[in-house]
Symmetry: D2
Subunit: 358 residues, 4 copies
């Protein structure tokens, strides 16, 4: 199959936020996708590279402000980077127009309607789609993604939490009520906005927890943990605390859990071996060797997620660590990974060599 025959057309709704910009960066060098529409209400009519000058000469496409069904009708894939609540309303129209959809909001990430509605304080206008939507974490839902029409791209914190926990939940190696996730995000996670709280002088040389009770990603993590353990939504709960740190891109999860009673020979070496075994066929999950721990620096601007763990015999505690780029594996580049699966491309197409370097 020659390249041009296999080309698919992708449109991005809400293309000028930070997730949108990372989607644009990723798809711009993709061998099989071409841009159809880059939509923006604010910047309609302007070249994309006016908003992000780094793309000058690379992506000079004009931003458009089109009705959603027009976006979808000549696109093979529409990616929505919209606020929750908004996605829930418009995604059905996109699907009806014949496009496959990857949505970046929380609107289609839950299987349990009540959990979604409580977490987001919203009534879902199209709850029937929750069943249909596939959670876009290819490492866990690859088969379903192959035929999915609607993919809910996971939250950034859920992605790094679940990659850390999956082998231990699937194999019942940890006490399910003992999970604590202490995670830290770079500032780009807050999006592109004029808000004093995210001003340079407010965040440089700062570090702080936020949303220490009830952050929305808590229930998303918990539901997926339940599924990974073969249980029902709500069966597992997790303690989760996000922090904000003064770097642009990157996210680290430090996860604590007690070994289960059946996991009697816990050790750092064993944890490393479990990861190596579980992720041996994965291209983007990199299990670090020995006692090397993840650093966000090594995954910046990429779709990789680095993982390792240790066992503390003094307190009989398992510590798991994952590092990813919050906009990369935590958002836009993971969406491209899913898109590759959805359209039958090599899962690594366009993603393998994207790395910041120094």
């Amino acid at each position: 199959m020659a390249v041009e025959e296999s080309v698919k057309y992708v449109s991005i709704i809400g293309s000028t936020g930070y997730v949108g910009a990372e989607l644009v960066r990723g798809f711009a060098s993709h061998p099989f996708f071409r841009f159809r529409h880059l939509t923006s209400q604010t910047f309609a009519g302007k070249p994309y590279s006016d908003i992000y000058p780094e793309f000058r000469g690379i992506v000079d496409n004009l931003c458009e402000d089109l009705p959603y069904d027009e976006v979808a009708k000549d696109s093979d894939l529409v990616i929505t980077a919209l606020p929750h609540g908004v996605s829930a309303k418009i995604v059905p129209d996109l699907l009806k127009a014949g496009a496959k959809v990857i949505d970046h909001s929380g609107d289609f990430r839950y299987k349990d309607l009540a959990t979604y509605e409580k977490s987001y304080s919203l009534t879902h206008p199209n709850p029937e789609l929750l069943k249909e939507a596939v959670y876009g974490l290819p490492e866990f839902y690859r088969e379903k993604l192959k035929t999915a029409d609607l993919v809910a791209n996971p939250g950034c914190y859920p992605t790094c939490s679940l990659v850390a926990l999956a082998p231990f939940l699937k194999n019942h190696l940890i006490e399910e009520d003992s999970i604590i996730i202490d995670a830290t995000s770079g500032v780009s996670g807050a999006g592109r906005k004029s808000d004093l709280a995210y001003a340079f002088c407010e965040l440089d040389e700062s570090f702080k927890p936020y949303g220490a009770v009830g952050h929305r990603h808590t229930t998303e993590i918990a539901e997926q943990c339940s599924f990974l353990a073969g249980k029902n939504s709500g069966d597992i709960k997790v303690t989760f605390t996000p922090h904000l740190a003064p770097f642009k891109r990157g996210m680290l999860a430090s996860v604590y859990a007690k070994p289960s009673k059946t996991f009697t020979d816990a050790s750092s070496e064993k944890i490393n071996a479990i990861y190596n075994d579980f992720y041996k066929d994965e291209q983007f999950v990199r299990v670090l060797s020995g006692k090397t721990l993840p650093d966000i620096k090594a995954v910046a601007c990429s779709n990789y997620i680095d993982v390792n763990g240790v066992y503390d015999p003094e307190t009989d505690m398992i510590k798991l660590f994952t590092a990813q780029d919050n906009l990369g594996k935590g958002a836009a580049l993971q969406a491209i990974q899913s898109a590759n699966v959805m359209f039958g491309f090599d899962e690594t197409a366009g993603l393998k060599n994207i790395v910041r370097g120094i």
Copy 2:
């Protein structure tokens, strides 16, 4: 008592490291202390302000390389900022020469010799001093500090961990085997050294855990937790993970613990009230109001430590947060606070208005 009559002379051994420099900054504007000797093997004979140009016109004293007993004999207070192992050997001579001593290493922080020797892989040459040494956290050991000749200045991670935990340990409000401390330090905590690992390009835009098993501060925290709970060294163990973040100064501790069976009415409001009650007479522990969480930005370059906590009813988990400057309350400025207590000065002398501002 007029100022000049009450003046005391302080010397700093190892004055040109980062802790030394912060001691110099703090004492330079102290109303009652004057410098006697600033020692440095590397920079002997040079003005202090040649090494730290910010002190030009403020502290231009010449660095000296003197025998330790000569440093001590005309000093009221000697502060040692030396590596562990070295302090253990020389502190007895300083005391014999008649000076009071505040030591910044781990050599005198433990009551239990075996714990020290295991944690530091050293044989202590002067173990009898462990009994005599007072742990220099004024909020918990104020009375003993008043008559102390030898003060072991606490580690940075222990200070912020213990301030977070103290009211809950003292009042038996948490399960003592459930403590998890996830903490993050700025880079100055690693000291002033020529080491690729701390080069700008290696750390800017980075974030990572380190020493995930067996970091020395773990046992220091654990022993003091035991004492705060009215138990013996070794009775309480803690899970502790430090992280390194791309800012110069600051440290945040996020502490997790389960409420004890007697703490049946745990709530965020209750936690806040417990802190307010416990620290109501403290000048440097600031209990934040409502659900405001600590940020290292607010304590940078100061001796303040900001504290607050929340309760997560979903998982029945207490989360406690403290922010301090790792070189301030976490090291040098806390030493000055102890010095104030040791010499009968107002505990806040020279410390109250030190704040970075924006």
Copy 3:
């Protein structure tokens, strides 16, 4: 004279911007000034430390929203940190109410009305005050400040440019039409505002020139250069380019000029000697030794300005360098230095030991 007898009361209008916060930091530890009113329209009724938590326990005064004359009537000194145009209107009322005034805007910095009105695209409502106002750079206008009622605090770029150039202009050692000032500011210079252009993700890892033609400080620098050279406003013009760099506080000026025909023996040593001689009695201008060049790190959070220069014989070019804190010597702390002069205090009162350290 005992301290309490000499105490003066200061009020700050617009106290919650970054310049306001630095004034608050500086005056909070001043031996002779006490706060009367801290005004803020946005935060009236709230403790100052709610807006800037670093001041909790230090400055908890309530912000007020008072008529300007009420602010002034019980204050010895009113400092205005307001936008240009606004200051021009209200300063006369403050003076009438009996207070001395230090204004931070550009409204009273010029002697030549037309230059002001062209630079700021405004008609000055009180032009008669331009004559009365003293330019608040104590190193050059100390005598006039002693009796001044209205002081125009200099711009940040003008302060570091003029300190670099003064000895050479006064002694006619440079060609007056050859001056090029290439300067770089930290982000706090833009003030405290919700503006995407100053968001963390827009500025971290960025560096750029701005206002490359017609930045307002150009004419302010030029007029003062003319006066320093003993000429009239407009006689000297300068080339000026500001840049924005990813740090919070600090400003560096790199100034280029050709030696005048009478300066036939230009050399780096000679330039250093000229600075040492010219600033020998100054407490806050630090002439660095030998070929050490200024670094903003050494002046951060202080009122110091570090200066040095070199001569390039290959191109017969003088290069002068100054580093200051844009909020310190470049704004708020310089205002406190002027206030000390205006009220007959030691010029260094409250300022000598303010330094960030590491």
Copy 4:
């Protein structure tokens, strides 16, 4: 020509420094180059991704410590990232072994031997190669690069200075004795080394000039300026001052020059038009529109160089600005651009879509 037929083998000597790592990043995704040897004395035998974990799964080749002629004999292209002085000695052997060579040191950048030897305080062991070597700035030496065996990759400061100045020198639009270059580099320009001067705590929140007289790049810039103006080495001299700023990657040049007597209609619009005309066929020189000025953020991690200029009528001064990545267009990626030309590939092969994004 199918891809595999056209594949060329590249080796990098000194591959584990920052320039080496950027070469590795660039060539790793290049369609036509494959790695042969990555040499390192320090890390021989280790996978490249052990030194730079970001390359795990991308470049896991083992580092080798081979004799130079063995490196060259099975390589089509050898790139040397070695200190000056060292390159001068070994490059002849590489050429003799049959490889084309791109050298990153200053050893082959000069045509005038005396200027090189004075600038670098060295006696050149192989001065005859100076004539043969082509200065690797494809925008100016494209034709010569096509047949070059030895390419001297330009210095980072020279690249951005010369791209700014070229149209004005070639067309005699500026006074040749009036050129002042004020430039700022990110920290990666200093290389990968354990040196306190480049420690995080020494550079975060710092900004300073360095090498203010006699920086080696001064003569390299000057010689190329002479050639661009159609003159001989030494005819044009330039004033040059580098600065160091707290970001990892990026470089900005702010260039000042007087319009020549023939350039009577200088204006910002005219300058922009001159750039657009001069660089209209270039893929990597992006002339910004209107009065938009370059920002290093937009060129980070790429081979692009953004350029624009303004005219200040008040002082009759031309200001030119260029932004590049010091490791990208300023070093490694420009070397790849030259390599494309040398081997007859599309000049943009492997470089067009490399961009950091946010």
